[in-house]
Structure formats: C-alpha cells, structure tokens
Amino acid sequence: MLKKNLKAWLYLLPALLFLGAFMVYPLIDVFVYSLEEGYNSASQTYHGVGLFNYSYVLHDPYFLQAVKNTFILVIITVPLSTILALFISLGLNSIQPLRHAYQTIYFLPYVTNTLAVGLVFMVLFKKTPYSEGMVNLLINWFGGQSVDFIDGPYWAKMFVLCFYTIWVVLPFKVLILTSALASVDENLYKAARLDNTPKWRMFTRITLPMISPMIFYLVITGFIGAFKAYSDAVALFGTDLNAAGMNTIVGYVYDMLYGNSGGYPSFASAAALILFAIVLTITCINLLISKKHVHH
C-alpha cells in the first residue's frame, strides 16, 4: 500500500513542483508582500508589518476609479452579453439553411486577436483631426453631434469599452449556449407541443431550466473574466489608462508593478488581494443564487 502511494506521489511530483513554484509560492508571496510596509524592491528591505498597504490602495483615487470602471464593466457586460448570446443561440438553433455558416461567422471574433479587434474598434470609433470615424459619420448622417469615443467624455469611453468587451466575449457564449440548446431532448418539446403549450411557456418552463447549468457557468466565468479585464482597455485606450481614466483593477496592479508609477509590489499585492476578495464574494453569491434556480 505504502509502495503504491509512493508511486502515485512520484507521478504527481512534476506537476506538484511546477504548481508549487509558480502558483503556491507566488500566492503566499503576494500575501506576504501585501503586509510588508515600506518595502523597497531595490534593497529588498521593509520597515514594518501591517495593513498600511491596503489602506493606501483603498485611499488611492486611481484605485477607486479602477474599481468603479471595473464594476460598471462587469455589471453591464455580463448580463447583457449572456442575454444577447442566448437570443443569438435561439436564433441559430431555429434556422435550418446555412446554420453552420452562421455559426462559423458568429464564432470568428473568438479566434481573432484582441489587439486586432481593438484596432478595428479604433477605426470605427476614433475621431482624429482628419477623420471622424465610421460611427461618428453615422451619427452625423442621422443629424447628431460627433462624439470623441476614445479621448472624449467618460460615458462615451465606457460605452466603447463595454461594446468591445461584449463583442469579444459573445462568441464563446454563443458557442456554449448553441450546443446546450441542441442537447435538450427533442421529445420534451414534442410532448409540450401536444399539450398545447404556448411558445413563451415552452421557453421559460422547458428551455431555460434545461440549459440553466450552462447559463450559470457562463455567468460565473463571465463575472470572473470581466473582473480581470485589462487587455481590452489597453487595446482601446493605450497603456496609460490612469490618464485616460479608464483603468481597471488588474490594470492598476500592473501599473503599480511596472508602469510609470511602478516599483511598488506591496501596493500591487494589496490591490490584487482586494480583487481576489471581491471575486470570491461575488462567486459565492452566484453559487447561493444558483442553488435555488439551477436544475442539475
């Protein structure tokens, strides 16, 4: 028995070593950093242990802005992208001709590079001295005033960021939901149809409960993904996100480490742990809600 166990541990050893070195140790390290006050990365010294780093981060206007941006992004994009994906999947599921062609088209953004998509969005939204951008041309055509979506007012920038995020996360959700819809037993619909069930009731009483585990999965991963948003903002607004007022929590962590104001691993660690606490809380709330509404 002991020998058998030993063998198992031996097989697990490479994975454990790598996980330990690159996951567990850094996690502990982050926690330690976050408590070391006045840490100097050059001399690797600090002069105290306490919660000052947390207090600093929580009072930093840039951090508060990043938290606000992240929350707005999460609250708008997660529900909206999930609902949109659901509608698109329902549509894809009900059409017969060219179904696979449409599925491919809807999946294309998923295999496209984030920065490339960002470039396209720049072309669509950016206003320069020489051109108005596609969207502004449209707005003008309808008789509206041009808006600078990239360097203009906060709401316009947030709109573009949300639009962009939804665009990027949509294909994966459509893919998951289309396959979830296709796996619902056809006979359930036939049975419901024979019982003269209205279309809307079929949707709410059969379709939704049957695909609820997948919806729930998408909501949880959607929340986590959106809280970790960073590259999307960079793709649109460049690397100096604090100046643009469009920083996210992960962006703030990055800036604290390597940005212009960088070199503060203690502040970065504290911010990262605050993000961890937020995501954990939200996920727990999600799990509690799902217990009531998700059919497994």
């Binding site: 037993d185 006979n187 359930l188 036939k190 049975a191 419901a192 149809r193 024979l194 019982d195 003269n196 069930t197 209205p198 009731r201 009483r205 059969i206 409960p209 049957m210 059919h295």
Partner: protein, 366 residues
C-alpha cells in the same frame, strides 16, 4: 372515438439519392380502429410503426391520405388541437419538475373557458396519479423514480387532459422482463377503466398479442394483416405474419403437394384437400407437432430442452428453411434421447401452406 386512416402515405426524402428519391415509411394505409379499443401496431424495427403513430398524433404530416377522428377530418389539424395523449418511448418527462408538476403541466396550458383553478388542477392530477397508482410519489423528481414509475407518470400526464386518443410508443421497451409483464397488464387495466381508444406500438409480438383487442401487423410500411390476435395467429395471410408471430417461432419447410397430400422430403405428412399439385412452403407451429411412435413425419433429434411445463424438442430436417426446428410437447410425454430420430404426427390447423413466389397463404380444408 373511432379512428379511420384513408390511403395514408408518408414519404421521407432520401438522404442518399442513389437509393431512390424517397423512403416510403407508410404506404397506403387504409383501416379503421374501432372506438374504445386497445390496438397494437406490431412489426420489426423500421417498419413504419412509429411514423404511423406520429401521423396520428400530428407530429408528422402525411404525404397523401386522410386521418379521421370519429367524423372529423384531422389530417391538417396541428397536434395541439387534436386532443391526443402521447407517451414517448423515453417518457419525455420534464426532469426539473416534480411528478405532480409534470402531470399538471398540460392542465396549466388550458386558457379561456377551459382554464382551471389551482385546486381543480391538483384534484385532477391526483385523480390521474391514482389511476396509475403513483399518488404517493407526487413530490419526487423523475430521476428519483424507477423506470416503471416514470412510465406511469408519463401515462398519467397523457391521460390528465382527457385525450380523445391515447398513443403509446414502445411503452414497455425500457422496462425489465418482470416489470414488462406487470406494466402491460396495467396498461390494459387503465385502458379498460378509461375507455379511451388506445394505440400502442411494439416490436414484441408477445406484448401485442397479450393485451390488444386488435393487432395490425406491418412490415416495410405496408400493413400485412389486421385482426384479433388469436385470429391473426391462427390464420396468417402470408409467410411474414406467420413467422413474425409466435414464440418459439414457426417452423418453415420446403414442401410439395401431390394428389392433395403434403410431402416434406420423401414423407407424406398430412392430407391437404383442396390444393393443386405444386411446390409450397409449409410452416408448422411448434405446438402442431404431436409425439407419435407411428407418426408419418420423421425428424432428426438434436436435443431436448425442458422448460418446466413444456418440453422443447429441437430437431433437424434436410428440407428445413428455419435455422432451428422446435416442437413443443408436454413434459410428461417422453422422448427417447438415445435415438437419432423422433416421429411426429401433425395437427392440421397448426400447419400453414404458402405460395413460394408470393408467400401468400394457400388455404386447405382442415
């Protein structure tokens, strides 16, 4: 409610055009199902039984022909307006709803003047549940029920809206052997109690024979014979029906009629008055063999299987078409297993002759 099918035909477009433009699932059905009876649609897999059921339910629309419920032409009526209850082969219970919610589901769809109060719905659901004896399981989910119980829930859900016609698609195929026997009696009892015209599909002839008022034997989309089970068993109109019905199955031989006498091999085994001299296919039910030391029919003896009440004598014969020949005799009659041969005389009404070309029945005077 009687059901009439008139020249009913269903063709499906063929995926592989090499094999023709269409697959004909149901070919020119023309028969009437009397009101309040239990009808078994019987045939091998792929014979169009389920398609027929779907046509009656309205889930499929016929290519040609008409369907009447009583005097109403329902051919183009959508399924939701036909008032049929359908029990699916896999039961199709809503897995996230309790038994009670499943049974109440059809009632909750009623609108306008038919709308029921909550209490009335509960009362009717309980009534249906009592009929199929699952009224103690109302709060369970389908996954917490056995196959037989799920089956009953499906029947209750089909019955609760008081359908004009009840359709059952292979209702017993997902149950184990013992439960199958029990459930088929149950279906019979429920059908008798409600008096709803019921059609069920099966590939198991035992099942169809045991509970149906009438059976419809089908093959390749064509109806071969309709009648009371015993009638069809005793007087099959062609070789397919004869071989499809009965367990163990009927024994088939190449044979010849000469001078109104039936010859199998060199032996004259039976008088067959009324048949011209010709080659025939002879089919003999296992119970048509009578052990007889002096009998005219000699078969090679392979082995003897004792199955309690009966004994199955497994035989061989050079003129046999069937792979295995079986005679069923009473256990108290002794077969001398030391010998290589066994002799039988035949019960004339258990012997059927068919044309080797058309495979149609050739009747002779018994």
């Amino acid at each position: 409610m009687k059901i009439r099918l008139e020249n009913l035909t269903k063709k499906f477009p063929n995926r592989n055009k090499k094999h023709g433009e269409y697959v004909i699932a149901v070919n020119d059905f023309d028969f009437e199902i009397p009101s309040g009876k239990l009808i078994g649609l019987l045939g091998p897999s792929g014979c169009g039984k389920s398609t027929t059921l779907n046509l009656i339910s309205g889930l499929e629309t016929p290519t040609e022909g008409k369907i009447f419920f009583g005097e109403d032409d329902v051919t183009h009526l959508p399924p939701e307006n036909r008032g049929v209850g359908l029990v699916f082969q896999n039961y199709a219970l809503y897995p996230h709803l309790t038994v009670q919610q499943n049974i109440m589901f059809p009632l909750q769809n009623l609108r306008g003047k038919d709308k029921l109060s909550k209490d009335e719905m509960k009362r009717r659901a309980l009534e249906a549940a009592k009929l199929v004896q699952i009224d103690t399981l109302m709060e369970r989910k389908p996954s917490e029920l056995s196959g037989g119980q799920q089956q009953r829930v499906a029947i209750a859900r089909a019955l609760v809206k008081m359908p004009r016609v009840l359709l059952l698609d292979e209702p017993l195929s997902n149950l184990d052997a013992r439960l199958r026997l029990q459930t088929r009696e149950e279906i019979r009892r429920i059908q008798k109690a409600t008096g709803i015209t019921t059609i069920f599909v099966t590939h198991d002839q035992d099942e169809a024979m045991s509970i149906s008022d009438q059976i419809v034997v089908m093959k390749d989309g064509v109806v071969h014979q309709i009648g009371k089970p015993q009638e069809v068993y005793d007087h099959p109109t062609n070789l397919f029906v004869a071989t499809f019905l009965g367990t163990p199955s009927i024994n088939v031989f190449r044979a010849r009629v000469q001078g109104e006498k039936l010859y199998i091999g060199e032996e004259n085994v039976l008088a067959t008055p009324g048949i011209q001299d010709r080659d025939v296919i002879c089919a003999i039910r296992p119970e048509g063999f009578l052990l007889d030391q002096e009998g005219p029919f000699t078969l090679g003896l392979d082995r003897v299987e004792i199955m309690g009440r009966d004994t199955s004598v497994v035989c061989t014969h050079e003129a046999a078409v069937s792979e295995v020949l079986r005679a069923i005799v009473r256990t108290d009659s002794l077969v001398d297993e030391e010998k290589n041969t066994v002799r039988f005389s035949l019960l004339p009404r258990k012997v059927h002759l068919f044309d080797p070309e058309t495979e149609e029945d050739l009747p002779f005077e018994v």
